[in-house]
């Protein structure tokens, strides 16, 4: 095979691996955003964090919030709930950023797979 074509296939394989790795990382990130509270599950989204923040600003200490499975959940300590939700978000995004940067800087498939 022509050397140039072989090189093009090598790059194509790398791009496929990179795209696949990004998809997997994104799934890992989505899963790590889940926060469990009193039998309910909440995804730590920017929208939810902003909503809870607005509740705190109104000095509301306890409130019923509907979780991701449409189950009403009685949050008895809103500030603590907010703290944990935000911590889940920060931890997940930081991990996602670190892993994403690592693969983005990879120049070959071996680099993508490096631990």
């Amino acid at each position: 095979m022509d050397i140039e074509i072989e090189k093009a296939f090598k790059i194509a394989n790398f791009m496929t691996s990179l795209a696949g790795q990004r998809r997997i990382l994104n799934e890992e990130f989505e899963q790590s955003l889940l926060y469990y509270y009193d039998g309910c599950v909440f995804k730590a989204t920017e929208q939810r964090i902003a909503f809870i923040s607005a509740i705190i600003q109104r000095k509301i200490k306890a409130m019923v919030i509907v979780d991701d499975n449409n189950t009403p959940c009685n949050i008895t300590d809103i500030p603590l709930f907010y703290k944990n939700l935000l911590a889940t978000y920060v931890e997940a995004t930081n991990l996602y950023y670190n892993k994403y940067t690592k693969i983005a800087n990879s120049k070959n498939i071996e680099g993508l797979l490096a631990k």
Binding site: G20, E27, N69
Partner: protein
């Protein structure tokens, strides 16, 4: 309340019990839960991997073709008829049931114990390499009966769950009838189908989306994908490309290429 993991493995031309050992080691590593193996009477737990071994005879028999990545395929016996008995067989109050080829890679399944649900199962799935596969597992037929994965599920010992498993068993025993009624083209009996039909029968179509799911998605690769590493991370080779590789960390994966799993564990 006792909690544990149940793994089914019946050797029939393929060493499913070996797969179960690999799966069990990962369960111990990540979930730290006691494990019960449901298997044939000939199996000996030489390495004391399982906390309990329950012998259960198989009365039915069927075969299937099992691919091994790009290198070939093999016709094997597929002894998957005991899953409906897990309510009676489980020694635990709260049980997580996993397939022998389900590789736990995180603490994610522990979240089942955190939720206020008596029964949890995966509905959404995600093929790690191709978007197009996941559409295949949205419904069990060409209509709209949702597909549920019997690969992993969680249940508590409640009266409702006892009836659910009774129903699954009934569907299994009358598989030909239900296969025709639900217009399932696959002749082989699959636990995914019987669980999906049972859930569909228990709940009306209007409420099926309100059923409780394990949070997140079931991640999987097919038997056409190869696996190269099975240490703390798993590396896959994609069938559509010779050298496109992927690595997975922190996600549990249902690896359907059983040959590859056995190969890398030896």
């Amino acid at each position: 309340m006792s909690r544990g993991v149940l793994i089914f493995a019946h050797d029939g031309g393929f060493e499913y019990t070996k797969l179960a050992e690999i799966a069990a080691k990962r369960v111990k590593q990540y979930l730290k839960l006691p494990i019960t193996l449901i298997t044939d009477k000939n199996y000996k737990d030489k390495h004391k991997i399982f906390d309990t071994v329950i012998r259960q005879d198989i009365t039915y028999n069927q075969s299937r073709v099992l691919k091994d990545g790009k290198s070939g395929f093999e016709k094997i016996q597929w002894l998957n008829f005991t899953r409906s008995l897990c309510y009676d067989l489980s020694p635990y109050d709260e049980t997580i049931v996993i397939d022998a080829d389900y590789m736990v890679n995180s603490k994610h399944l522990l979240s089942c114990f955190e939720l206020n649900s008596d029964f949890l199962i995966y509905k959404d799935s995600f093929h790690l390499l191709h978007d197009s596969y996941s559409k295949m597992f949205e419904s069990i037929n060409c209509y709209t009966v949702p597909f549920f994965w019997a690969t992993v599920f969680y249940f508590k010992k409640t009266e409702q769950n006892r009836l659910l498993f009774k129903l699954v068993d009934f569907i299994k025993n009358n598989w030909e009838y239900y296969r025709l009624i639900y217009q399932i083209s696959d002749i082989k009996y699959r636990n995914d189908y019987s669980f999906s039909i049972a859930i569909n029968l228990l709940l009306s179509n209007a409420t099926v989306n309100e059923f409780s799911y394990i949070p997140g998605k079931l991640y999987y690769t097919t038997d056409e994908d190869d696996v190269f590493n099975n240490d703390t991370e798993i590396i896959f080779d994609c069938i559509n490309s010779d050298r496109a590789l992927f690595t997975v960390k922190n996600l549990d994966v249902h690896i359907m290429n059983k040959h590859a799993l056995l190969r890398i564990s030896q």
